[in-house]
C-alpha cells in the first residue's frame, strides 16, 4: 500500500449527512469480480443521468475544478451502511486521497485505513468553515492535509485532528498488515494451544 504522508489539492464539498456506501458504489455497479474500474462508478446514481453514463452537471464531481478533487468534505456518518470495500476502491480509483467528515461508518473507516484513503475527523464547525472557504472560492482554495503533523490547512487556517495510533501508523508506513500479523505466528499458535484446552468446542467441527 502507498504510504500516506501529505496531500494538497482540490476539495469537493458533499455537505450532507449519512452518505451511505450504496450511494458511493451501488450494488448493480458491481458486475465483475475484478477490483478495478471502480473510479468511473463512484456515486453512479448521483453522477450520471438515469441508466446512462451522461454526466449530470448538478453533481459536484462533474464540475471543474472538483472533477479533479483529491479530498471530499462531508457531513456526519460518511460511509454508513454496507461493508462493501468497493466503496473505498471507487474513491481511490477516482483519485480521492482523503475524506474530511464529522464521523464515519465504522466498517468504511476501517476499509479506508487498509487502502491508503485517509479519513480525517473534524468537528462540525471546522468542516463547515472549510466547506465555506472552498465553496466561496469555487474550489480554487486548495486544502492541505498532513498526516504526520495531523493538520488540515486552507487559506491560512489550520485545524488539528487526531487518529488512533495503529490506524495512523498503517497509513504512514503503508505496511502490509497481514505480513505484520504473520510475524506473530508463534503468539497465535501459543494462544490456540491454550485455547484448545480452555474452549475445545470451538475447534470441533461435526462432519
Amino acid at each position: 500500500m502507498t504510504p500516506f504522508l501529505r496531500v494538497e489539492g482540490v476539495a469537493a464539498p458533499l455537505p450532507i449527512d449519512n452518505v451511505d456506501t450504496d450511494a458511493m458504489i451501488p450494488s448493480r455497479e458491481t458486475q465483475s469480480v475484478s477490483r478495478s474500474g471502480y473510479g468511473e462508478r463512484l456515486f453512479a446514481y448521483w453522477r450520471y443521468e438515469a441508466g446512462t453514463r451522461v454526466p449530470r452537471s448538478d453533481f459536484v464531481l462533474n464540475r471543474p475544478p472538483f472533477d479533479r478533487a483529491v479530498i471530499i468534505l462531508a457531513g456526519a456518518n460518511y460511509g454508513c451502511g454496507s461493508s462493501r470495500e468497493a466503496a473505498v476502491w471507487s474513491h481511490v480509483q477516482f483519485g480521492i486521497r482523503c475524506v474530511i467528515a464529522e464521523s464515519y461508518g465504522a466498517i468504511f473507516y476501517n476499509n479506508c485505513i487498509r487502502n491508503g484513503l485517509l479519513p480525517v475527523t473534524l468537528a462540525t464547525e471546522s468542516v463547515a468553515q472549510i466547506i465555506d472557504v472552498v465553496a466561496s472560492s469555487n474550489g480554487t482554495a486548495l486544502v492541505a492535509v498532513d498526516l504526520e503533523a495531523e493538520t488540515v490547512a486552507t487559506e491560512g487556517r489550520t485545524y488539528g485532528f487526531s487518529m488512533k495510533a495503529h490506524d495512523r501508523d498503517m497509513l504512514l508506513t503503508g505496511a502490509d498488515e497481514i505480513a505484520l500479523t504473520l510475524k506473530r505466528r508463534d503468539e497465535i499458535d501459543a494462544f490456540r494451544a491454550k485455547d484448545r484446552v480452555d474452549r475445545p468446542w470451538i475447534y470441533h467441527r461435526p462432519r
Binding site: D17, N77, T124, K164
Partner: protein
C-alpha cells in the same frame, strides 16, 4: 496485576485484589486477545469466519494471489445468499448481471482452499446471519466476522460479531486474527413492557429515530433491561441486526437460558462434555454490576409504538399512529437541513404529510432483519384469511431453507400465497438491488429490511422500513397501516 481465574482467562484485578468490573464485551475481548498492538489496538482471535459469494471469492483470491494459505479452513464457512436468485427452480444463472461469475469464482476458490460451501440446493442454505446461529455455527461468546455489515445480527445470541471488508477478510483467512481497535462501550437499557404488536424491529427503529443514525458512536453496544430479556433470541437478533444502522460497531445481548435452549441440539452446536464446558463458560457472559460504560442510554419500552421510516436514513423514522414528515425549516445547521430536504425530495413527500395512509405499491418480507420463523408467523397472523390490496406486489422470502421448511410445515406458505404473496427460496433477495430482480414499476415499497437508502431496493424505489406486522397490515390495506388496527 493479572490473575488466572476459573474461566482460564486472565482478569484485571486492582491492588487490593478485587476484580475490576467488566462489561460483557470486555470479557469476550479478553478471552480473544492474542497480543497488544500498541495503545489502542489488539490482535483479536477469530473463532468463526463466514463468507458469502459477493465478497468471499475476492477474499480467497486475494489470499492465494499473495501466496498465502488459509490458516484454518475448519473455522471458516461459506454460503451462497447475496446475489443468488430466489425464484423457485433457481440455478447458477442469475438475474443479477455478473452474478453467475461471483458464484463460480467463490465456489472455485472455496474448493481450492478446502472450505466447505453451503450451495444452492443444500438444506442448510440461507442468509448467512440467519443460518450462522440457526445451524449452531455461531454460539455465545464467540468472535465471528463476515464480509457483511449485518454480521452484528449474531450479537443477539451473545456472540461478538462484526462486519469487515475484503482486506480484513483476507487478514482473518490468513491469520485467524484481526487487528481491532478497542471500542467504546455503550449500554442501551430498555425497561418496561412493550405494548402489543410492538416488535423488536420497532424498538430499534425507535432508537435510531430518537437518537440518530450515528448515535451508536462506533461503540460496542450492549442491549440490556427487562424488555430485552423478554425478547426471544430471534427478536434479539432483529434488534442487534440494526445496531449498525444506529452507527454502532456492533450490538450484543448477554446470553441467558432462552439462548442456551435455542442453541442446544443445533447441528454444529457443542454436544456432550463439550456442551457442559461451553455452558459453564457461557454463564459467565454478562456485564458485571459495576461495569463502566462510556455511554448509557435508557428507554421506556412501554412508550414505544409501531414505527415506520419516511426518509432515506434509519433516523428518518416515526410512530405510524401520529407520525408526520418533519419540517426542515427549523433546523439551523445547513448540512442537517439539506440532508432532510434531499430525503423528502427523493421520497416525494412534503413536510406535514402523515405517514399513516401513504399508498404503497409493493410489500417485502425478508432479509437478515426479519425473515426468521417468528417474523413469518407474525405476518401470517395478520394475513390469514385476508388478501393484499389490488395491484400490490408482495414478496415473502424466508431467511433460510430451514425457515422455509418450518413455515411450510405450519402451513404459513399457504397463508402467504392465498393472501397474494409470492413465496420465494431463501436469500438476501430484494433487500438490495443488484441489477436483476426488481419490484417492476412499483416505487413506494414497505419492507422488513434494514436500509431505506436512495436506490437501495431499486432505481428510484422509495423504501419504508417497518416490522413484519406493519408490512403485512400495510400490504392488506395498500397503505401504511398501524398493525394494531388488526387487533392485538
Amino acid at each position: 496485576m493479572r490473575l488466572a481465574c476459573n474461566l482460564q482467562c486472565e482478569i484485571e484485578v486492582t491492588e487490593v485484589g478485587v476484580a475490576m468490573p467488566r462489561t460483557l464485551v470486555e470479557k469476550i475481548w479478553a478471552l480473544h486477545q492474542v497480543a497488544s498492538l500498541g495503545q489502542d489496538t489488539d490482535l483479536i482471535y477469530i473463532d468463526r469466519h463466514f463468507m458469502h459469494e459477493r465478497s468471499g471469492g475476492r477474499m480467497l483470491d486475494g489470499v492465494a494471489q499473495a501466496g498465502r494459505a488459509v490458516f484454518d479452513p475448519d473455522l471458516t464457512y461459506a454460503v451462497l445468499d447475496h446475489i443468488v436468485d430466489t425464484d423457485p427452480g433457481r440455478t447458477d444463472i442469475t438475474k443479477a448481471p455478473g452474478g453467475s461469475d461471483f458464484i463460480r469464482f467463490f465456489r472455485e476458490n472455496a474448493a481450492r482452499a478446502g472450505i466447505e460451501l453451503i450451495d444452492l440446493e443444500d438444506q442448510r442454505q440461507g442468509i448467512v446471519h440467519v443460518i450462522a446461529p440457526e445451524l449452531g455455527i455461531a454460539t455465545p461468546g464467540m468472535t465471528l466476522v463476515c464480509g457483511d455489515s449485518h454480521t452484528c445480527t449474531v450479537g443477539g445470541i451473545g456472540a461478538l460479531a462484526w462486519g469487515i471488508g475484503v482486506t480484513q477478510g483476507e487478514h482473518a483467512l490468513s491469520t485467524q486474527c484481526v487487528p481491532l481497535k478497542r471500542p467504546s462501550q455503550m449500554r442501551v437499557t430498555l425497561n418496561g413492557r412493550l405494548p402489543p404488536r410492538v416488535l423488536a424491529k420497532d424498538i430499534i427503529l425507535y432508537l435510531i429515530a430518537d437518537i440518530g443514525a450515528a448515535g451508536g458512536k462506533g461503540a460496542a453496544i450492549e442491549f440490556a433491561g427487562s424488555a430485552i430479556r423478554a425478547l426471544s433470541p430471534e427478536g434479539r437478533m432483529t434488534l442487534c441486526n440494526m445496531a449498525v444502522e444506529f452507527g454502532g460497531w456492533t450490538g450484543i445481548v448477554a446470553p441467558d437460558d432462552s439462548v442456551f435452549a435455542y442453541v442446544k441440539g443445533r447441528p454444529y452446536a457443542p454436544q456432550g462434555a463439550h456442551w457442559d464446558l461451553a455452558l459453564h463458560h457461557w454463564r459467565e457472559l454478562y456485564s458485571d454490576e459495576d461495569a463502566v460504560f462510556d455511554h448509557d442510554i435508557e428507554i421506556d419500552a412501554s412508550a414505544i409504538r409501531p414505527q415506520v421510516t419516511w426518509g432515506t436514513s434509519g433516523e428518518h423514522g416515526t410512530d405510524i399512529e401520529c407520525g408526520r414528515v418533519p419540517d426542515s425549516a427549523g433546523i439551523a445547521d445547513p448540512v442537517r437541513q439539506a440532508s432532510m430536504l434531499a430525503a423528502q425530495q427523493y421520497m416525494a413527500l412534503e413536510p406535514g404529510d402523515a405517514v399513516a395512509g401513504l399508498p404503497i405499491e409493493a410489500a417485502f418480507i425478508g432479509s437478515c432483519t426479519n425473515a426468521r420463523i417468528e417474523d413469518l408467523r407474525e405476518a401470517a397472523g395478520i394475513l390469514a384469511g385476508r388478501h393484499v390490496a389490488p395491484g400490490i406486489m408482495a414478496l415473502c422470502v424466508p431467511g433460510s431453507a430451514s425457515v422455509k421448511r418450518a413455515a411450510e410445515a405450519e402451513g404459513l406458505d399457504r397463508i402467504f400465497q392465498d393472501a397474494g404473496f409470492q413465496w420465494r427460496e431463501a436469500g438476501c433477495s430484494l433487500c438490495f438491488y443488484a441489477g436483476g430482480d426488481s419490484f417492476g414499476a412499483a416505487r413506494r415499497v414497505i419492507s422488513t429490511t434494514n436500509r431505506n437508502f436512495q436506490n437501495r431496493q431499486g432505481p428510484g424505489v422509495r423504501t419504508h422500513l417497518a416490522s413484519p406486522a406493519t408490512v403485512a397490515a400495510s400490504a392488506v390495506t395498500g397503505r401504511i397501516t398501524d398493525p394494531r388496527h388488526f387487533g392485538a
